[in-house]
Amino acid sequence: MQTRTEPLVFELSRTGRGAREQWPQEAPPADDLPATLRRRQRPALPEVSELDVVRHYTRLSQLNFSIDTHFYPLGSCTMKYNPKACNSLAMLPEFLARHPLAPESHGQGFLACLYELQELLKEITGMQGVALSPMAGAQGEFAGVAMIRAYHRARGDLERNEIIVPEAAHGTNPATATMCGCVVREIPVDSEGDVDLDALKAAVGPKTAGIMLTNPSTLGVFERRIEQVARIVHDAGGLLYYDGANLNAILGKVRPGDMGFDVIHMNLHKTFSTPHGGGGPGAGAVGVGSRLLPFLPVPIVGRDGDRYRWLTEKDLPQSIGRLSAFMGNAGVLLRAYVYIRMLGREGLVRVGEFATLNANYLLARLVKAGFAAAYPSRRASHEFIVTLKREARELEVTAMDFAKRLLDFGFHAPTTYFPLLVPECLLIEPTETESKETLDAFVEAMVRIRREAEDEPERVRRAPHTLPVRRLDDVRAAKQLDLTWKPATQP
């Protein structure tokens, strides 16, 4: 990666410069618009040449770690290889040019892909219906909890507004419950990482709308008593929500539908390898069992004979409605479709198997090297937690310090300090697309860092040393807010 920082694009700007080749050649006056509704002066966008732009953003890109350049074992995020074909095929000119409101007559090819994707995801997850429009995991969660609420409401069961969430849950779970107007009830997990069944029993009741679970959980272990959990919640009148962020771990091995979940979301940008794009876009397709079918968000793709068509509120009058202006992240859906078709049946099974193999191998090697597993008695799922509390206590070198120092060794850091209940934790997810050599090199780096932590701890504490910037002051960032560039700002 590039090690020099770049000036801001605004600093490259000069009045009168511009990528004119990109501008329309005419500049008609627009004098029909009333002056009171018009802008008085042009917006302060940069004035730069096309070369300036290309050079600036190319150089900026080189300041990033990414899967295409680095091992990126960010737990819970499934940073696997994003096949290049998924991108190029989703970006075929006709797909890119298609207007979202173009008639179905001019979208049969596109709709066929989406329809088949719905069917594929049903089979993969064991659900009865799938809607593709949610634009990320969190929006899928929203759709799911909204469906749970709509279900209870439709049955006249108006009091059910509590969502149970294990303490290890991802922040989006409780946040979603709140957004859906629910009350969150957190329950603990036991020392082996399973849900505390007694706490669960105590938590359920006539106000229980449902429970949100990831399985395997964000602790990197499979919830072994999932059938009991399902029974307890169902018996109490609640429904089970499956947070699909960790679906990669069990692909082809066990299906949420078979575990008793009533509604799920899938992160297509995790399990189905659409790119993360430096923060998005993703796609959070939802799947439901038969009870929730009527409530799916619209639009959905239906088939009449050999024609595909949009299903809308007219077809699903009980739908929770529309969550996006059009069809959600359509281009991401095409990428996921291509990916699944390339994997096929056998490939899907292979994903679950090799993601799990890689995680267990990496865990075994790290434990052998003296690192502490958070759940030493358990199998890893596709990810696992190492806790550095001993290192933090004895060497005063924290998980964050390890994380930053890993950057110097050319590895993106694992997820740090999540889940919150494990102290000084690193949540490590290697994914199935990484090779044994890469995992071995990562172990070696971890061992070297621990040795450094013993020999010259300051080196670790002040890492990174070889990146374009040294460790950044987050506290200052939040206190002295500098969120937009102003000509005079000097940080």
């Binding site: 700007s13 732009v53 922040g171 993703g282």
Partner: protein
């Protein structure tokens, strides 16, 4: 076929290191009765060559019709540089920039984006995107209700001239928290929201007023009067704006005496392909005083250990991964890559280029309206200033006319029957800078023929 690199020897060594006999054994904590029996409805793997052929055929099946639909998604020219750079692996395959030191490329790009969106809207802070324009409006409503401590009613006035899909998304998103959305009628003569429509609420507790400019019909609302009306009554104002139009139109930060409180919009016109509806991105800007109520990620500039500037995610205490149930939103993954594209697009266009895109798009739409309304049975639905989009009334059934055009390879606008049945047979048409005089001519002559050949209802 799963992009896995493992050789047989690798697997053997790895199993030995773990101390198990088989991969299967790694799944032994899963209750046996739950195990998948088969995935029989999943077809066999396709090689890249095979899927490429399939996708190419499907894409060709959809063709490339000449498109005059706008209605929230606009076909602008996208410079080749935009996606050549955006799809670079370092942008494309990175995660959210949690490790700031290893993500300066994405972080600086977002900081630049925030600055550009602020410049366009005339407001002080912007976030790093929401899912799309519609969800950005819904989030803005939740944010405004939190921010408006003076109002208790959670009542939001939403003109009917706001994009109908946006209104639906707002209902679906905010309904569970008890927000009450009330719709305001439009004037049948000028297609705008008249101040009179607000009169019934003059003495009510209203939390928020939403204004879309240009509105769904392409008509220009009297944004100053509407904004002031709301502010005088203690309501906050949310603007829904088209970022290209902002190159010419008054920025929401200057509407009325004080400017709006929050502005949102669909970022798609800024270098993002139509792509059947997504991925696009929603942008959101607001006054600095509301920043702690803002949903989504925000990037700040700070200093590193050596005192050099650098960028990092900031104000994370608003977000779900820290604040969980009390977060400003559940949003986590956003639309980052599209923000990168839009930032590159805005850099290439600059203030003058963007203004030209807006002005030419508008000029083309005016020419289009002029050409089409010369046809017997076609007339403008509304009088008054419009921008870049317009409603036409037809004296033949719109659906049949549009179907006939589509057969000729022309997508002649959006049928308004579903959302605005009161308009009778009406279509919303749009031309951008991508349309030539020849295209407009082709549309006009196809429409003239269609108007003749289609039977009256």
């Amino acid at each position: 076929m799963a992009f896995t690199p493992h050789t047989r020897e690798d697997v053997a060594e790895m199993l030995a290191a773990i101390g198990v006999e088989s991969i299967e054994q790694l799944f032994d904590e899963i209750p046996a009765n739950l195990r998948v029996k088969s995935l029989e409805r999943i077809p066999e793997a396709l090689s890249e060559m095979q899927i490429a052929r399939l996708m190419t055929e499907r894409a060709r099946q959809d063709g490339r019709p000449l498109c005059f639909i706008g209605a929230g998604a606009y076909e602008h020219h996208i410079p080749a540089a935009v996606w050549a750079i955006t799809t670079r692996g370092e942008f494309y395959s990175a995660y959210t920039p949690y490790q700031a030191e290893a993500s300066q490329g994405t972080l600086q790009t977002i900081y630049e984006f925030q600055t550009m969106i602020s410049a366009l809207t005339g407001l002080e802070v912007a976030n790093a995107s929401l899912y799309d324009g519609a969800s950005a409006l819904a989030e803005a409503m939740l944010m405004a209700v939190r921010a408006n401590r003076r109002s208790k009613s959670q009542r939001i006035l939403v003109p009917t001239t706001v994009h109908p899909h946006y209104r639906k998304v707002a209902v679906a998103t905010t309904g569970n928290q008890g927000l009450i959305l009330e719709t305001l009628p439009y004037s049948s003569t000028d297609g705008r929201t008249p101040l009179e429509a607000l009169e019934p609420y003059a003495n009510e507790d209203i939390t928020v007023l939403v204004i879309q400019q240009p509105n769904f019909f392409g008509m220009l609302e009297d944004v100053d009067a509407l904004t002031d009306w709301a502010h005088e009554r203690g309501a906050l104002v949310i603007a829904v704006v088209n970022p290209i139009a902002l190159a010419l139109l008054k920025p929401p930060g200057e509407w009325g005496r004080a400017g709006v409180d929050i502005a949102v919009g669909e970022g798609q016109p800024l270098g993002v392909p139509l792509s059947s509806g997504g991925p696009y991105f929603g942008f959101m800007t607001a006054r600095m005083s509301h920043v702690r109520q803002m949903p989504g990620r925000i990037v700040g500039r700070t200093l590193d250990l050596n005192g050099n500037p650098g960028f990092t995610l900031t104000l994370q205490a608003r977000e779900q991964h820290i604040r969980r149930g009390k977060a400003t939103s559940n949003i986590c993954t956003n639309q980052g890559l599209l923000v990168t594209a839009a930032t590159i697009y805005m850099s290439l266009m600059g203030p003058e280029g963007l203004e030209r895109v807006a002005a030419v798009s508008h000029a083309r739409t005016r020419e289009l309206v002029a050409a089409l309304t010369r046809i017997q049975g076609v007339r403008p639905a509304f009088q008054g200033p419009f921008f870049h989009e317009a409603v036409l009334r037809l004296d033949k059934p719109a659906s049949a006319v549009l179907a006939s055009l589509a057969e000729r390879g022309i997508l002649g606008g959006l049928d308004l029957a579903e959302h605005y049945p009161e308009l009778g047979s009406a279509i919303l048409v749009c031309a951008t800078e991508t349309k030539t005089a020849g295209d407009i001519e082709a549309f006009a002559s196809a429409l003239a023929e269609a108007m003749k050949s289609v039977r009256a209802a």
